[in-house]
């Protein structure tokens, strides 16, 4: 694809409110809910406009593939409504910043394989309720997409091995890219907003200004703790793998040397030579542990540490403000 990448994602007010509604109080706990987005790509300014969202149905026990069928059914009627029908991505919620899982990566890859400009919008219901409007957009970097071998028919791609990752020079920060998000209203929507405000002023609950919101910090730290354990396990496993491979190589070398010696003897005696291929069955190569899971965990861990650092800096700011307040009064 030679087209230049999208620089901004623009969300219509309808979509923002629909996504907020989808993840409102009763269903904020279902972390697996996703919905689809439709929109329009504006090439002149490299902006992806998201104009409509397809809600996600409630999952019951009989129908696990319900979300996909629902989306397909819904799309049949979307032209009648006059909305764009180009599927540009999907949205999900990020309670406590838990975003980068395997299914997230898989979903995003299959979307991006179909349409390079697609994106995922991550909405944080907790932060938005506290007064900070939180929509973030991500996509997978082009380098990563170029590297994996995608099988379009089966929608499957084999995990990249360590060697491929090294050759492509992909490190954890190169997998996902964040795109800035903007909100844009139309004139009629502006009038509606003024009208609504006349009736009843919005007064968003700015509870993030209160100095004592540390419950989310505790949660983050607990999750960070877990992830750090997992990352340590991963690196231990990798070290183990390195050791075993080293030993294995040595064993193979010695075995091969022995075989060659035997073969020379046999040649001298005029007998058939023994094959060298049996080394593979005698000394099997150890299996390389998957690289993607540890990488995703590192990205997730970076996300947690960023959130914790963000929270800590804000709280420090708030503390100094209260200090100044106290001193003056």
């Amino acid at each position: 694809m030679v087209a230049s990448p999208i620089e901004q994602v623009q969300i219509d007010p309808v979509v923002a409110l629909q996504i907020a509604k989808c993840f409102n109080d009763e269903r904020a706990q279902d972390e697996d809910r996703i919905g689809q987005l439709t929109g329009y790509i504006d090439r002149s300014s490299n902006v992806l406009e998201v104009t409509h969202s397809i809600p996600s149905p409630v999952e019951t026990e009989d129908n696990f593939d319900e979300p996909e069928r629902y989306a397909l059914d819904y799309l049949k009627y979307i032209r009648e409504k006059g909305c764009d029908h180009l599927q540009v991505g999907w949205y999900t919620s990020s309670l406590n910043s838990e975003i980068f899982t395997r299914s997230f990566l898989n979903n995003l890859v299959s979307f991006q394989m179909n349409l390079t400009e697609s994106t995922v919008i991550v909405y944080d219901p907790l932060k938005t309720a506290q007064g900070h409007c939180s929509f973030r957009a991500f996509r997978i970097s082009q380098d990563y997409i170029d590297m994996i071998k995608y099988d379009a028919e089966n929608d499957y791609w084999p995990e990249p091995t360590l060697k491929e990752l090294r050759d492509g020079k992909i490190s954890t920060k190169d997998i996902f890219e964040e795109i800035p998000v903007a909100l844009k209203t139309s004139f009629l929507a502006n009038m509606l907003i003024y009208e609504l405000e006349d009736r009843d002023s919005f007064n968003p609950r700015k509870s993030f200004l209160e100095p004592a919101t540390s419950a989310s910090l505790e949660k983050h730290l607990k999750l960070l703790d877990k992830v750090v354990d997992e990352v340590v396990n991963d690196s231990n496993r990798f070290n183990q793998f390195q050791k075993v491979t080293g030993k294995n190589q040595q064993q193979r070398q010695t075995w091969m040397a022995k075989r060659r010696q035997e073969n020379e003897q046999r040649r001298a005696n005029g007998q058939d030579e023994l094959p060298l291929d049996e080394v593979n069955s005698v000394h099997k190569l150890p299996e390389a542990p998957s690289r993607i899971e540890p990488m995703l965990r590192s990205v997730q861990m970076k996300e947690y540490t960023d959130a914790v650092a963000d929270f800590a800096t804000k709280s420090l700011g708030k503390l100094f403000i209260t200090d100044a307040f106290q001193k003056s009064s």
Binding site: Q8, A16, L17, A20, K21, F23, P55, S56, V58, E66, D73, Y77, R79, E80, K81, C83, T128, Q130, H132, C133, R166, K169, S171, T172, P180, L183, K184, T185, F187, A189, M191, L192, I193, Y194, E195, L196, E197, R199, D200, F202, P204, R205, F208, L209, V231, F238, S298, M301, Y304, V308, A309, D310, A312, K314, S315, K318, L319, T322, D323, Q326
Partner: protein, 292 residues
């Protein structure tokens, strides 16, 4: 379900924005031979509880309108309602919306249709009162009117002729906390000339909220100064509110406060340091693995 006449209608803001979105797109899918209809008609879904109707979502239904005839795509309506049921199983059809300003003769046909739909859904448990949400999208008064009415069957005049008249319901917009935040951001959007606003990240939101508090305090300061200089008449109610406000700031002992401040600052600095350490460790690990 209830057969009482609704008297209050609670609307979620999503519905209103969707209606104006449909209105803006109404010319989108029309072929050249047909004329785009003047207004948008669609179904409202939600719930009824006692005399209170809650409107949760809506969808547009294509229709055709000439001077005498109206036609609505009934199959479309039913299909979309089935889809809607999958998302929100507790929703029912409670009425319909239109983007016209005045009640039209043709509206009666739609009322009958929806009354029929609602009574089949409820299987004759009582009277049905479909509500009609009218959103005036060609703003005639300089603002968008949002009105809701339902039909009231009365007997009019000396001869007690049976007829129906509209009963206007009180409307209330139901916001959730998240809605309020988003709408606040959208209002800032509308203030900018390009109607576009990039969402701020990092410490900017905190900074902007503190700035707005400082602005509010300046306004109060000016007000008080004006009263002291005699430019304005003092208002005892406002004065009492202000003194209550300033007295409600908790005043702790200076030493206690210092200790608390220091311990909190230490906690946060430690958390910050540890998380940065974890980051560095990660980066190092990454380099080691990649380099071999």
């Amino acid at each position: 379900m209830e057969a009482t006449q609704p008297n209050l209608c609670k609307i979620q803001p999503t519905v209103l924005f969707q209606i104006i979105d449909y209105h803006e797109r109404k010319g989108a899918n029309i072929s050249e031979k047909e004329k785009a209809p003047n207004r948008v008609i669609g179904t409202l879904c939600g719930s009824i509880d006692g005399g209170v109707v809650t409107v949760g979502s809506c969808y547009k239904v294509p229709h055709k309108e000439d001077d005498n005839e109206v036609a609505i795509n009934m199959q479309f309506n039913e299909d979309l309602f089935k889809l809607q049921k999958k998302v929100a199983p507790n929703d029912m059809i409670i009425g319909w919306f239109t983007t016209s300003k005045q009640i039209d003769n043709n509206d009666m046909t739609f009322m009958d249709y929806y009354a029929r739909l609602m009574s089949t859904a409820r299987q004759g448990k009582g009277g049905v009162h479909p509500i009609v949400l009218m959103v005036d999208t060609a703003p005639t008064n300089g603002k968008i009117d949002i009105k809701v009415y339902t039909l009231l069957k009365t007997k009019i005049g000396k001869r007690q002729i049976e007829g129906s008249m509209p009963l206007w319901l009180q409307t209330e917009i139901m916001y959730s906390d998240a809605d309020r935040t988003i709408l606040d951001e959208l209002r800032k959007c509308s203030a900018s000339s390009s109607r576009k606003l990039t969402l701020p990240t990092g410490i900017d939101p905190l900074k902007s909220s503190v700035d707005s508090i400082i602005d509010n305090l300046k306004v109060i300061q000016e007000y008080v100064n004006d009263i002291l200089e005699g430019k304005r008449k003092p208002n005892s109610i406002a004065g009492r509110l202000l003194t209550d406000f300033f007295h409600s700031i908790p005043h702790a002992d200076a030493e206690v406060f210092e200790k608390m401040l220091n311990s909190n600052v230490n906690d946060y600095l430690m958390v910050l340091y540890l998380s940065q350490l974890a980051n560095v460790e990660l980066a190092l690990n990454e380099k080691l693995i990649m380099a071999q």
